[in-house]
């Protein structure tokens, strides 16, 4: 309800695309240009804002998109806007991923970084070392693909064994983390909304004791509580997406990550309970939503870590 007409059209086209049969990375990046949304025009993008990129990520979450849209988007926006890699990321011809916690000395990257989302398919790593960002080709890095609980998104562990790297965002390391948090928030909102929709549909159609489950007030009130938590989390996530350029962003992104991943974790757990036996099976999508929600919850700052960070602003 807080979208203008253009944003609504974007949402609808992304949603239609992701629920259609034949989507592919090439069409997603090329035809729809989702990797280019928030990239400045001079960098090869559409010059929209993180808010528009968030609309796409929210829909990607709802569809459990198994493609590196989030990582490529975050990598592109984290980079110095003048970075030469930006055009490829915006076009989707380069797949990007962001890695936090390497060290940099004498022009070389060192160290091991775990849990790099989409690190299994990335062409280019945007690597945070100290306060700065560096860009390095995946071919220069020892990439170990890790099997993930959330089978819809891969991870890699990276080893930087004195790898030459190009400065690609001086002083932008913490901004990259804020972008990742805001992006995970947007996506988590979509995950939660889809899981809640599936649950509501189940309650409306499934009969027990001779009546639809949706007639049981105890379940109705729990659904209402989930809806309320998700509504507020949606507001918090969208607020962060709106203030990406301001000094409020670090706090807003942490708040959004906290609220949205908590909401998604709660909704997807409750969804399995409300779905009953069917939600416990591999063939039903409920578990995939839960696993994506659990991953987004644990990565880039668990809730109590984020609260500790926010305490400085109280």
């Amino acid at each position: 309800m807080d979208f203008d007409a253009e944003q609504l059209a974007l949402r609808d086209s992304v949603r239609a695309f992701l629920t259609s049969d034949g989507y592919s990375w090439d069409r997603l990046a090329g035809e729809l240009g989702l990797t280019a949304l928030a990239v400045p025009e001079e960098g090869g993008g559409f010059g929209a804002t993180l808010f528009e990129a968030g609309i796409a990520l929210e829909e990607a979450g709802a569809a459990l998109l198994s493609a590196p849209l989030l990582s490529t988007t975050v990598a592109a926006l984290a980079l110095d806007p003048a970075d030469p890699a930006l055009a490829g990321l915006a076009a989707g011809t380069t797949i990007g991923a962001v890695a936090f916690g390497a060290t940099f000395s004498d022009g070389l990257l060192h160290g091991r970084v775990e849990h790099v989302l989409d690190g299994d398919v990335a062409d280019l790593f945007v690597v945070a070392a100290g306060d700065d960002l560096y860009a390095v080709e995946a071919s220069q890095v020892t990439v170990t693909v890790m099997p993930t609980l959330d089978t819809t998104r891969g991870q890699a562990a990276l080893v930087f064994d004195s790898v030459p790297a190009r400065p690609a965002g001086p002083g932008r390391a913490s901004h990259a983390l804020d972008l990742l948090r805001a992006a995970l928030a947007a996506e988590s909102i979509g995950v939660a909304r889809a899981a809640l929709d599936i649950t509501i549909e189940h309650l409306r159609t499934r009969q027990q004791f001779g009546v639809p489950l949706a007639t049981f007030q105890a379940l109705r009130h729990r659904v209402a509580d989930l809806y309320v938590e998700l509504e507020q989390a949606t507001s918090t996530a969208r607020h962060a997406l709106r203030v990406a350029g301001t000094e409020e962003f670090p706090v807003a992104a942490a708040l959004a990550k906290l609220a949205a991943t908590e909401a998604a974790y709660t909704v997807t757990r409750e969804a399995i309970q409300l779905l009953g036996g069917i939600g416990f099976t591999w063939e039903h999508p409920a578990h995939r939503y839960l696993k994506r929600a659990a991953a987004n919850h644990a990565l880039a700052g668990a809730p109590h870590t984020l609260r500790r960070f926010l305490l400085a602003y109280v």
Partner: protein, 376 residues
């Protein structure tokens, strides 16, 4: 927004909230609504004379201020320590209802005295036998010549002892539940109206019972058609959770600041478990703000927005009261003074028990939401 609007508000408050009104600073908030009633009534008239009541009403009755301007007013009012308002029932509940559903005569008769704070209002919805079930209203009214005669009992009626008028939901016709209700405007100063303060959990009396025994009001003092009261009344409930929530949140922020200050003083801020709860409360307050901004900027009205907002703020505020007590620790078991003067933490803790009950309980709000998501 006029570029100097904030400066204008600030200057006016600095100039007027002083002198005889100085004792009002910081008083009359939730749980303290019994404080300084007469002086606060005078203060309301001062606000009215300054043109600050009905700020957001459309012209000619109000100043047609934007939402942003109204927020600025709330912010500056809170910053100046303005006392708890007495005219808000008329300003934020009745007036929007009249503007939406009232006749031109009714608007002309009732809006100006609200804007001048010459007539204060109270709300006659809840009843002892109906609780949050608005459609279960038993109060009856009959048209007797050119007058309505109203008989019944209302509860949770704040400010009834100082209000000149009450808007009353009463059963005027046949049909059960939502049919046959009317929205009547009833003067309080008459033999047929008795106000009995209810002593509450806090030991003070913010809320009253109001007894109507053949109380009378003019036949033309019905808003909307007779029998259409359900629709009119539920629209008022929606107004209750409008832009005023942003002002309310400024009060919440002050309460939270007080708790943080207290936690720093008594050392509990250094307890990671308490600090985690403080951070959660602060994050929750930001969430309330972000949510209010999003709903206020919505292009289409969301029929569930009011219920979502009520559940969010009431539950958050209630948890804040529990946090205040946790921060106080054992000290929270001792009063500020005998016989029963509460500390800030105790007042917040006890008074917020009502937040999830009155004005549509949490259970009623969940019903409303579920009805829409899951069908009736």
């Amino acid at each position: 927004m006029a570029p100097d609007f904030r400066a204008e508000v600030r200057a006016w408050l600095a100039e007027h909230l002083t002198g005889e009104f100085e004792p009002l600073v910081g008083t009359g908030g939730p749980g303290r609504e019994h404080e300084h009633l007469e002086l606060r009534a005078a203060w309301e008239r001062e606000l009215g004379a300054g043109g600050w009541i009905g700020l957001g009403w459309p012209r000619p009755y109000g100043r047609g201020a934007t939402i942003a301007e109204q927020v600025v007013f709330f912010e500056e009012y809170a910053r100046a320590g303005g006392p708890g308002r007495l005219s808000h029932v008329g300003e934020y509940l009745l007036a929007p209802t009249l503007i939406a559903h009232g006749t031109e005569e009714q608007k002309a008769r009732f809006l100006p005295p609200i804007a001048r704070a010459e007539e204060l209002w109270c709300q006659g919805y809840s009843e002892p036998g109906a609780g949050s079930d608005l459609a279960g209203v038993q109060t009856r009214a009959e048209l007797d010549g050119d007058q309505w005669r109203v008989t019944g009992q209302k509860v949770w009626t704040s400010l009834a002892h100082i209000a000149q008028w009450c808007f009353v939901l009463a059963r005027t016709g046949p049909g059960g539940r939502k049919q046959g209700l009317s929205y009547l405007l009833v003067p309080m100063d008459q033999p047929g109206v008795t106000v009995r303060p209810i002593v509450q959990i806090t030991g003070t009396s913010e809320f009253n019972e109001v007894f109507f025994d053949e109380a009378v009001t003019g036949a033309d003092h019905v808003v909307g058609a007779p029998g259409d009261g359900w629709r009119v009344a539920t629209s008022t409930l929606a107004f209750e959770r409008g832009v005023a929530t942003l002002g309310q949140q400024l009060g919440f922020a002050q309460e939270l600041s007080g708790i943080v200050e207290r936690a720093r003083e008594n050392g509990t801020f250094d307890d990671p478990i308490v600090a985690d709860r403080i951070a959660a409360a602060w994050a929750g307050l930001q969430g309330l703000r972000h949510h209010a901004l999003r709903t206020l900027s919505a292009t289409e009205p969301d029929p569930l927005a009011a219920s979502v907002a009520k559940l969010l703020w009431a539950s958050w505020h209630q948890r804040l009261g529990e946090l205040a007590m946790a921060v106080d620790g054992p000290a929270g078991t001792v009063l500020l003074d005998a016989p029963y003067e509460l500390t800030d933490a105790q007042r917040l803790f006890l008074f917020t028990r009502a937040d999830t009950i009155y004005g549509g309980s949490n259970e009623i709000q969940r019903n409303i939401i579920a009805n829409r998501l899951l069908g009736r």
